[in-house]
Amino acid sequence: MKLRIWILAASALLASCSKDGDEKPTLTGPPSTTISDLQADTGASVGDDAGEGKEKRPFYSLTFSFSTKQSRLIKTKADSLQYLKNTDWDIAFTQEYNSYVVVNNGTYTGTPGAGGPGKGAMIIIEKPYDQVTEAPSDEDFENKGVHGVGWDSGNGYGWFFYSLSNHICVPIKNRTFVLRTAEGKYAKLALLNIYKGNPPVVTDLFWPAPYLTFKYFVQTDGSRRLNTSN
Protein backbone atom coordinates (compact mmCIF):
# COMPACT_ATOMS: atom_id res chain seq x y z
CA MET A 1 0.00 0.00 0.00
CA LYS A 2 2.57 2.46 1.11
CA LEU A 3 4.82 1.74 -1.88
CA ARG A 4 1.97 2.14 -4.34
CA ILE A 5 0.98 5.46 -2.90
CA TRP A 6 4.58 6.51 -2.98
CA ILE A 7 4.89 5.54 -6.66
CA LEU A 8 1.69 7.36 -7.53
CA ALA A 9 2.85 10.44 -5.69
CA ALA A 10 6.22 10.28 -7.39
CA SER A 11 4.73 9.96 -10.86
CA ALA A 12 2.31 12.75 -10.16
CA LEU A 13 5.23 14.89 -9.12
CA LEU A 14 7.19 14.01 -12.26
CA ALA A 15 4.17 14.65 -14.45
CA SER A 16 3.65 18.05 -12.91
CA CYS A 17 7.18 19.14 -13.74
CA SER A 18 7.26 20.99 -17.03
CA LYS A 19 9.04 18.94 -19.65
CA ASP A 20 11.32 21.39 -21.36
CA GLY A 21 11.93 23.73 -18.49
CA ASP A 22 9.66 26.26 -20.21
CA GLU A 23 8.92 29.25 -17.99
CA LYS A 24 5.64 30.19 -19.67
CA PRO A 25 2.99 30.52 -16.97
CA THR A 26 0.00 28.27 -17.45
CA LEU A 27 -3.13 30.26 -18.21
CA THR A 28 -6.13 29.61 -16.07
CA GLY A 29 -9.70 30.50 -16.63
CA PRO A 30 -12.53 29.74 -18.97
CA PRO A 31 -11.77 29.14 -22.64
CA SER A 32 -11.99 31.78 -25.37
CA THR A 33 -14.05 31.41 -28.51
CA THR A 34 -12.31 31.54 -31.87
CA ILE A 35 -14.32 32.33 -34.97
CA SER A 36 -12.54 31.37 -38.16
CA ASP A 37 -13.32 32.60 -41.64
CA LEU A 38 -16.58 34.35 -40.87
CA GLN A 39 -17.73 35.27 -44.34
CA ALA A 40 -18.59 38.95 -44.59
CA ASP A 41 -19.74 40.80 -47.71
CA THR A 42 -17.76 38.90 -50.33
CA GLY A 43 -20.17 40.12 -53.01
CA ALA A 44 -18.86 43.68 -52.93
CA SER A 45 -15.73 44.96 -54.56
CA VAL A 46 -13.68 48.11 -54.36
CA GLY A 47 -11.81 47.69 -57.62
CA ASP A 48 -12.99 48.87 -61.00
CA ASP A 49 -12.77 45.36 -62.43
CA ALA A 50 -15.09 43.77 -59.96
CA GLY A 51 -14.31 40.19 -60.91
CA GLU A 52 -16.49 37.12 -60.81
CA GLY A 53 -19.71 37.56 -58.90
CA LYS A 54 -18.74 40.88 -57.41
CA GLU A 55 -20.54 44.17 -57.60
CA LYS A 56 -18.97 47.54 -57.26
CA ARG A 57 -21.07 48.87 -54.42
CA PRO A 58 -20.65 49.79 -50.76
CA PHE A 59 -20.06 46.85 -48.41
CA TYR A 60 -23.01 45.60 -46.39
CA SER A 61 -22.35 45.72 -42.65
CA LEU A 62 -22.12 42.38 -40.91
CA THR A 63 -23.38 42.24 -37.31
CA PHE A 64 -22.21 39.57 -34.87
CA SER A 65 -23.44 38.40 -31.46
CA PHE A 66 -20.87 37.09 -29.00
CA SER A 67 -23.40 34.97 -27.13
CA THR A 68 -25.25 33.31 -29.98
CA LYS A 69 -22.45 33.53 -32.56
CA GLN A 70 -25.07 34.64 -35.06
CA SER A 71 -24.07 37.00 -37.81
CA ARG A 72 -26.22 38.95 -40.25
CA LEU A 73 -25.57 41.00 -43.37
CA ILE A 74 -27.52 44.26 -43.36
CA LYS A 75 -28.35 44.73 -47.04
CA THR A 76 -31.37 46.98 -47.33
CA LYS A 77 -32.97 49.92 -45.58
CA ALA A 78 -35.57 47.48 -44.28
CA ASP A 79 -32.81 45.35 -42.78
CA SER A 80 -31.39 48.41 -41.03
CA LEU A 81 -34.74 49.28 -39.53
CA GLN A 82 -35.43 45.76 -38.39
CA TYR A 83 -32.14 44.36 -37.18
CA LEU A 84 -29.98 47.14 -35.75
CA LYS A 85 -31.75 48.92 -32.90
CA ASN A 86 -31.50 46.12 -30.39
CA THR A 87 -28.93 44.30 -28.26
CA ASP A 88 -28.94 41.15 -30.40
CA TRP A 89 -25.49 42.00 -31.74
CA ASP A 90 -22.28 43.21 -30.10
CA ILE A 91 -19.93 44.15 -32.90
CA ALA A 92 -20.40 45.02 -36.56
CA PHE A 93 -17.90 44.71 -39.38
CA THR A 94 -18.51 47.75 -41.56
CA GLN A 95 -17.26 49.78 -44.52
CA GLU A 96 -14.61 48.79 -47.06
CA TYR A 97 -13.77 45.09 -46.72
CA ASN A 98 -15.90 45.01 -43.57
CA SER A 99 -12.70 46.15 -41.89
CA TYR A 100 -14.02 48.87 -39.57
CA VAL A 101 -15.16 46.99 -36.44
CA VAL A 102 -17.60 49.00 -34.31
CA VAL A 103 -19.48 48.30 -31.07
CA ASN A 104 -23.21 48.52 -30.49
CA ASN A 105 -23.86 51.83 -28.77
CA GLY A 106 -26.96 53.96 -29.17
CA THR A 107 -25.04 57.23 -28.76
CA TYR A 108 -22.42 56.57 -31.44
CA THR A 109 -23.48 58.64 -34.45
CA GLY A 110 -22.83 57.13 -37.82
CA THR A 111 -22.53 53.56 -36.54
CA PRO A 112 -25.12 50.80 -37.03
CA GLY A 113 -26.19 50.90 -33.36
CA ALA A 114 -27.00 54.64 -33.32
CA GLY A 115 -30.36 55.37 -31.73
CA GLY A 116 -30.68 51.89 -30.27
CA PRO A 117 -30.38 50.55 -26.71
CA GLY A 118 -26.83 49.25 -26.99
CA LYS A 119 -24.30 50.10 -24.27
CA GLY A 120 -21.22 48.85 -26.06
CA ALA A 121 -17.77 50.43 -25.72
CA MET A 122 -14.22 49.66 -26.78
CA ILE A 123 -10.77 50.47 -25.53
CA ILE A 124 -7.40 49.60 -27.08
CA ILE A 125 -4.88 47.74 -24.92
CA GLU A 126 -1.30 47.29 -26.15
CA LYS A 127 -0.85 43.84 -24.72
CA PRO A 128 -1.13 40.32 -26.07
CA TYR A 129 -4.57 38.74 -25.64
CA ASP A 130 -3.61 36.30 -22.89
CA GLN A 131 -2.00 39.06 -20.83
CA VAL A 132 -5.26 41.00 -20.62
CA THR A 133 -6.85 39.75 -17.43
CA GLU A 134 -9.02 42.62 -16.30
CA ALA A 135 -11.24 45.23 -17.91
CA PRO A 136 -10.27 48.87 -17.20
CA SER A 137 -12.49 51.29 -15.26
CA ASP A 138 -15.54 53.03 -16.67
CA GLU A 139 -13.55 56.22 -16.50
CA ASP A 140 -10.93 54.76 -18.83
CA PHE A 141 -13.66 53.66 -21.25
CA GLU A 142 -15.01 57.20 -21.14
CA ASN A 143 -11.69 58.99 -21.65
CA LYS A 144 -9.76 56.61 -23.87
CA GLY A 145 -12.55 54.68 -25.55
CA VAL A 146 -13.13 54.51 -29.29
CA HIS A 147 -16.26 53.70 -31.27
CA GLY A 148 -14.44 51.12 -33.31
CA VAL A 149 -11.16 50.19 -34.91
CA GLY A 150 -10.08 49.83 -38.49
CA TRP A 151 -7.14 51.22 -40.39
CA ASP A 152 -4.20 52.28 -38.25
CA SER A 153 -2.38 55.11 -40.00
CA GLY A 154 0.47 54.63 -37.58
CA ASN A 155 -1.29 56.46 -34.75
CA GLY A 156 -2.19 53.33 -32.75
CA TYR A 157 -5.97 53.53 -33.27
CA GLY A 158 -6.68 50.57 -35.50
CA TRP A 159 -6.30 46.84 -35.86
CA PHE A 160 -4.43 46.63 -39.14
CA PHE A 161 -1.91 48.47 -41.23
CA TYR A 162 -2.72 49.01 -44.86
CA SER A 163 -0.15 50.15 -47.31
CA LEU A 164 -1.36 51.25 -50.69
CA SER A 165 1.92 50.04 -52.16
CA ASN A 166 0.91 46.43 -51.73
CA HIS A 167 -2.81 46.71 -50.87
CA ILE A 168 -2.48 44.20 -48.05
CA CYS A 169 -4.13 44.42 -44.61
CA VAL A 170 -1.51 43.47 -42.06
CA PRO A 171 -3.02 42.73 -38.63
CA ILE A 172 -1.23 44.39 -35.73
CA LYS A 173 0.24 41.92 -33.30
CA ASN A 174 -0.03 42.06 -29.52
CA ARG A 175 -2.93 44.46 -29.45
CA THR A 176 -6.18 43.54 -27.70
CA PHE A 177 -9.56 45.29 -27.57
CA VAL A 178 -11.47 45.29 -24.33
CA LEU A 179 -15.17 45.78 -24.85
CA ARG A 180 -18.46 46.27 -23.20
CA THR A 181 -20.96 44.13 -25.05
CA ALA A 182 -24.31 45.57 -26.18
CA GLU A 183 -25.72 44.65 -22.79
CA GLY A 184 -22.78 46.00 -20.82
CA LYS A 185 -20.82 42.85 -20.00
CA TYR A 186 -17.01 42.99 -20.22
CA ALA A 187 -15.22 41.13 -22.98
CA LYS A 188 -11.87 40.96 -24.70
CA LEU A 189 -11.33 40.61 -28.43
CA ALA A 190 -8.36 39.94 -30.69
CA LEU A 191 -8.82 40.67 -34.39
CA LEU A 192 -6.65 38.23 -36.26
CA ASN A 193 -7.20 38.28 -40.00
CA ILE A 194 -9.34 39.41 -42.89
CA TYR A 195 -8.09 36.83 -45.40
CA LYS A 196 -9.59 33.42 -46.00
CA GLY A 197 -7.83 30.62 -44.19
CA ASN A 198 -6.11 33.02 -41.77
CA PRO A 199 -2.72 32.79 -43.51
CA PRO A 200 0.22 34.21 -41.52
CA VAL A 201 1.51 36.22 -44.48
CA VAL A 202 -0.39 37.41 -47.53
CA THR A 203 1.36 38.67 -50.62
CA ASP A 204 -1.42 38.23 -53.15
CA LEU A 205 -3.74 41.20 -53.03
CA PHE A 206 -6.50 39.15 -54.66
CA TRP A 207 -6.51 36.61 -51.83
CA PRO A 208 -10.15 35.92 -50.91
CA ALA A 209 -11.49 38.46 -48.45
CA PRO A 210 -13.22 39.46 -46.29
CA TYR A 211 -13.31 36.33 -44.19
CA LEU A 212 -12.89 37.44 -40.61
CA THR A 213 -10.96 35.44 -38.03
CA PHE A 214 -11.09 36.64 -34.45
CA LYS A 215 -10.97 35.41 -30.87
CA TYR A 216 -12.97 36.65 -27.90
CA PHE A 217 -14.20 35.99 -24.40
CA VAL A 218 -17.21 37.45 -22.58
CA GLN A 219 -17.34 37.58 -18.80
CA THR A 220 -20.99 36.65 -18.25
CA ASP A 221 -20.90 37.04 -14.47
CA GLY A 222 -20.72 40.81 -14.84
CA SER A 223 -17.27 41.13 -13.28
CA ARG A 224 -14.20 42.65 -14.92
CA ARG A 225 -12.19 39.41 -14.83
CA LEU A 226 -10.93 38.52 -18.28
CA ASN A 227 -8.35 35.80 -17.70
CA THR A 228 -8.80 32.84 -20.01
CA SER A 229 -7.14 29.47 -20.54
CA ASN A 230 -6.31 30.19 -24.18
Binding site: F161, V170, I172, K173, N174, V201, T203
Partner: protein
Protein backbone atom coordinates in the same frame (compact mmCIF):
# COMPACT_ATOMS: atom_id res chain seq x y z
CA UNK B 1 49.11 80.25 32.30
CA UNK B 2 46.07 79.79 30.10
CA UNK B 3 47.40 82.23 27.63
CA UNK B 4 50.82 80.64 27.67
CA UNK B 5 49.42 77.32 26.47
CA UNK B 6 47.23 78.81 23.81
CA UNK B 7 50.15 80.86 22.53
CA UNK B 8 52.32 77.80 22.54
CA UNK B 9 49.64 75.85 20.70
CA UNK B 10 49.14 78.43 18.06
CA UNK B 11 52.85 78.99 17.68
CA UNK B 12 53.23 75.27 17.36
CA UNK B 13 50.62 75.13 14.66
CA UNK B 14 52.24 77.84 12.75
CA UNK B 15 55.73 76.70 13.40
CA UNK B 16 55.47 72.98 12.60
CA UNK B 17 53.17 73.11 9.68
CA UNK B 18 53.96 75.72 7.20
CA UNK B 19 50.60 76.39 5.70
CA UNK B 20 51.04 77.25 2.10
CA UNK B 21 48.08 78.19 0.08
CA UNK B 22 48.49 76.27 -3.08
CA UNK B 23 46.03 77.26 -5.72
CA UNK B 24 44.55 74.24 -7.50
CA UNK B 25 46.08 73.48 -10.89
CA UNK B 26 44.30 75.67 -13.39
CA UNK B 27 41.70 73.76 -15.42
CA UNK B 28 42.81 73.72 -19.02
CA UNK B 29 40.92 76.32 -20.99
CA UNK B 30 40.49 73.94 -23.89
CA UNK B 31 38.32 71.24 -22.35
CA UNK B 32 34.66 70.34 -22.72
CA UNK B 33 32.69 71.03 -19.56
CA UNK B 34 29.67 69.03 -20.65
CA UNK B 35 28.27 67.35 -23.76
CA UNK B 36 24.56 66.65 -23.63
CA UNK B 37 22.23 65.14 -26.19
CA UNK B 38 19.08 67.28 -26.06
CA UNK B 39 16.80 65.91 -28.80
CA UNK B 40 15.14 63.42 -26.48
CA UNK B 41 12.07 63.26 -24.28
CA UNK B 42 12.72 64.10 -20.64
CA UNK B 43 16.24 64.55 -19.32
CA UNK B 44 19.07 65.07 -21.82
CA UNK B 45 21.62 62.30 -22.18
CA UNK B 46 24.88 63.25 -20.50
CA UNK B 47 27.98 62.04 -22.36
CA UNK B 48 31.08 60.92 -20.50
CA UNK B 49 34.11 63.15 -21.14
CA UNK B 50 37.61 61.81 -20.63
CA UNK B 51 40.33 64.41 -20.66
CA UNK B 52 42.91 61.69 -20.29
CA UNK B 53 41.86 59.76 -23.39
CA UNK B 54 40.36 62.87 -25.05
CA UNK B 55 37.12 61.12 -25.79
CA UNK B 56 33.43 62.01 -25.66
CA UNK B 57 31.35 58.89 -25.15
CA UNK B 58 27.61 59.03 -25.70
CA UNK B 59 25.70 56.11 -24.22
CA UNK B 60 22.03 55.53 -24.89
CA UNK B 61 19.62 52.58 -24.82
CA UNK B 62 18.67 51.11 -28.20
CA UNK B 63 14.95 51.47 -27.64
CA UNK B 64 15.21 55.24 -27.98
CA UNK B 65 15.84 54.43 -31.66
CA UNK B 66 17.60 57.73 -32.21
CA UNK B 67 18.40 58.41 -35.84
CA UNK B 68 20.02 61.82 -35.18
CA UNK B 69 21.78 63.42 -32.22
CA UNK B 70 21.72 67.08 -31.21
CA UNK B 71 24.52 67.97 -28.76
CA UNK B 72 24.52 70.97 -26.43
CA UNK B 73 28.16 71.60 -25.49
CA UNK B 74 29.36 73.70 -22.54
CA UNK B 75 32.87 75.17 -22.61
CA UNK B 76 35.02 77.31 -20.32
CA UNK B 77 34.82 81.07 -20.78
CA UNK B 78 36.33 82.23 -24.04
CA UNK B 79 36.71 78.79 -25.59
CA UNK B 80 35.24 77.73 -28.91
CA UNK B 81 34.55 74.33 -30.43
CA UNK B 82 34.26 72.96 -33.90
CA UNK B 83 31.85 71.51 -34.89
CA UNK B 84 29.83 74.05 -32.91
CA UNK B 85 27.37 73.15 -30.20
CA UNK B 86 24.05 72.23 -31.76
CA UNK B 87 25.55 70.87 -34.95
CA UNK B 88 23.50 67.77 -35.67
CA UNK B 89 25.16 64.37 -35.72
CA UNK B 90 23.32 62.98 -38.73
CA UNK B 91 22.42 59.44 -39.68
CA UNK B 92 23.32 57.68 -36.47
CA UNK B 93 22.70 54.24 -37.98
CA UNK B 94 25.29 54.89 -40.67
CA UNK B 95 27.67 56.27 -38.07
CA UNK B 96 27.38 53.05 -36.07
CA UNK B 97 27.58 50.81 -39.13
CA UNK B 98 30.63 52.46 -40.64
CA UNK B 99 32.28 53.43 -37.34
CA UNK B 100 32.34 56.99 -38.61
CA UNK B 101 35.06 59.14 -37.05
CA UNK B 102 34.02 62.53 -35.72
CA UNK B 103 36.50 64.86 -34.01
CA UNK B 104 35.68 67.89 -31.92
CA UNK B 105 38.39 70.55 -31.69
CA UNK B 106 38.29 72.87 -28.69
CA UNK B 107 40.31 76.09 -28.82
CA UNK B 108 40.87 77.64 -25.44
CA UNK B 109 40.89 81.36 -24.73
CA UNK B 110 44.67 81.11 -24.64
CA UNK B 111 44.75 79.62 -28.14
CA UNK B 112 45.61 76.10 -27.03
CA UNK B 113 43.87 73.27 -28.84
CA UNK B 114 42.58 69.87 -27.89
CA UNK B 115 40.96 67.26 -30.08
CA UNK B 116 38.31 64.93 -28.72
CA UNK B 117 37.15 61.76 -30.48
CA UNK B 118 33.42 61.09 -30.43
CA UNK B 119 32.40 57.56 -29.47
CA UNK B 120 28.82 56.37 -29.93
CA UNK B 121 27.83 53.48 -27.72
CA UNK B 122 24.30 52.22 -28.04
CA UNK B 123 23.29 49.80 -25.29
CA UNK B 124 21.60 47.00 -27.14
CA UNK B 125 20.92 43.30 -26.61
CA UNK B 126 22.67 40.64 -28.67
CA UNK B 127 21.60 39.99 -32.21
CA UNK B 128 20.94 36.29 -32.62
CA UNK B 129 20.42 34.85 -36.10
CA UNK B 130 19.19 31.43 -37.15
CA UNK B 131 21.00 30.02 -40.16
CA UNK B 132 19.07 29.91 -43.42
CA UNK B 133 21.30 27.30 -45.06
CA UNK B 134 23.13 24.35 -43.60
CA UNK B 135 26.38 22.74 -44.80
CA UNK B 136 24.55 20.10 -46.83
CA UNK B 137 21.61 22.31 -47.84
CA UNK B 138 22.61 25.58 -49.43
CA UNK B 139 19.37 27.40 -50.19
CA UNK B 140 19.17 28.88 -53.68
CA UNK B 141 17.15 31.85 -54.93
CA UNK B 142 16.77 33.25 -58.42
CA UNK B 143 15.89 36.43 -60.23
CA UNK B 144 14.82 35.96 -63.83
CA UNK B 145 15.65 39.03 -65.91
CA UNK B 146 13.68 37.66 -68.85
CA UNK B 147 10.41 37.81 -66.95
CA UNK B 148 8.51 41.05 -66.66
CA UNK B 149 8.31 40.64 -62.90
CA UNK B 150 10.55 38.37 -60.85
CA UNK B 151 11.29 38.32 -57.14
CA UNK B 152 12.40 36.21 -54.23
CA UNK B 153 12.21 36.51 -50.45
CA UNK B 154 14.36 35.19 -47.64
CA UNK B 155 13.23 35.13 -44.03
CA UNK B 156 15.79 35.23 -41.26
CA UNK B 157 14.59 34.26 -37.82
CA UNK B 158 16.25 35.21 -34.59
CA UNK B 159 16.08 37.81 -31.86
CA UNK B 160 17.28 41.31 -31.24
CA UNK B 161 15.74 42.78 -34.39
CA UNK B 162 14.23 46.22 -34.17
CA UNK B 163 10.72 47.27 -35.17
CA UNK B 164 12.06 50.13 -37.22
CA UNK B 165 13.23 48.95 -40.65
CA UNK B 166 15.18 52.19 -41.09
CA UNK B 167 17.58 51.01 -38.41
CA UNK B 168 18.31 47.65 -40.02
CA UNK B 169 20.14 46.74 -43.19
CA UNK B 170 20.90 43.34 -44.70
CA UNK B 171 23.52 42.86 -47.39
CA UNK B 172 24.90 39.84 -49.26
CA UNK B 173 28.65 39.36 -48.80
CA UNK B 174 30.38 37.63 -51.70
CA UNK B 175 33.17 35.07 -51.58
CA UNK B 176 35.80 37.83 -51.59
CA UNK B 177 34.24 39.49 -48.58
CA UNK B 178 32.78 42.34 -50.62
CA UNK B 179 29.36 43.65 -49.62
CA UNK B 180 26.70 44.04 -52.28
CA UNK B 181 23.90 46.63 -52.08
CA UNK B 182 21.19 45.94 -49.49
CA UNK B 183 17.96 43.98 -49.78
CA UNK B 184 14.56 45.62 -49.41
CA UNK B 185 13.12 44.80 -46.00
CA UNK B 186 9.60 43.42 -45.86
CA UNK B 187 6.85 45.36 -44.22
CA UNK B 188 4.34 42.58 -43.81
CA UNK B 189 5.83 41.48 -40.51
CA UNK B 190 6.30 44.91 -38.99
CA UNK B 191 6.62 44.75 -35.27
CA UNK B 192 7.62 41.09 -35.35
CA UNK B 193 11.02 41.31 -33.79
CA UNK B 194 11.75 37.64 -34.19
CA UNK B 195 12.17 37.72 -37.93
CA UNK B 196 13.05 39.90 -40.87
CA UNK B 197 12.07 39.26 -44.45
CA UNK B 198 14.38 40.28 -47.25
CA UNK B 199 13.02 41.01 -50.71
CA UNK B 200 14.77 41.26 -54.01
CA UNK B 201 12.64 42.16 -56.99
CA UNK B 202 13.05 43.00 -60.63
CA UNK B 203 10.22 44.95 -62.19
CA UNK B 204 10.65 48.18 -64.08
CA UNK B 205 13.84 50.06 -64.86
CA UNK B 206 15.77 51.43 -63.13
CA UNK B 207 16.40 48.14 -61.35
CA UNK B 208 17.46 48.19 -57.71
CA UNK B 209 21.19 48.53 -57.02
CA UNK B 210 21.24 44.94 -55.75
CA UNK B 211 19.71 43.53 -58.91
CA UNK B 212 22.18 45.50 -60.99
CA UNK B 213 25.15 44.34 -58.93
CA UNK B 214 24.34 40.63 -58.94
CA UNK B 215 26.42 38.48 -61.28
CA UNK B 216 25.03 35.36 -62.99
CA UNK B 217 25.54 33.28 -59.90
CA UNK B 218 27.30 33.39 -56.57
CA UNK B 219 27.39 32.27 -52.97
CA UNK B 220 26.65 34.98 -50.44
CA UNK B 221 26.69 35.12 -46.68
CA UNK B 222 23.97 37.36 -45.32
CA UNK B 223 25.16 40.16 -43.07
CA UNK B 224 22.61 41.85 -40.81
CA UNK B 225 23.26 45.33 -39.46
CA UNK B 226 20.80 46.12 -36.70
CA UNK B 227 21.42 49.59 -35.29
CA UNK B 228 24.58 49.09 -33.22
CA UNK B 229 25.00 45.38 -33.84
CA UNK B 230 26.14 43.37 -36.81
CA UNK B 231 26.21 39.67 -37.48
CA UNK B 232 26.92 37.54 -40.52
CA UNK B 233 25.36 34.15 -41.15
CA UNK B 234 27.91 31.37 -41.32
CA UNK B 235 26.45 29.41 -44.23
CA UNK B 236 25.79 31.13 -47.53
CA UNK B 237 22.83 31.20 -49.88
CA UNK B 238 23.12 30.99 -53.63
CA UNK B 239 21.62 33.75 -55.75
CA UNK B 240 21.22 33.17 -59.47
CA UNK B 241 20.48 35.88 -61.96
CA UNK B 242 18.99 34.35 -65.07
CA UNK B 243 19.43 36.50 -68.15
Amino acid sequence: MKYFYSILLSCGLFACTKTETIAPKAEPGNRIESFRIVNVQGEPLEAAISDKENTITVYWPFYKQLSILEPAIALPAGATISPASGTLIENVFEALRTERKTTYTVTGADGSRREYKLQLKVLQPELVLKEVSSPDDIKAFSINMKEQYSSFSVTIQGSGFLENNDLMRVVPVDADGKELPPFMLGITNLGDITRITLHCEKYQEPYSPLVQALPATGLYRLRVYCYGRVKTLQFPIRINKLQ
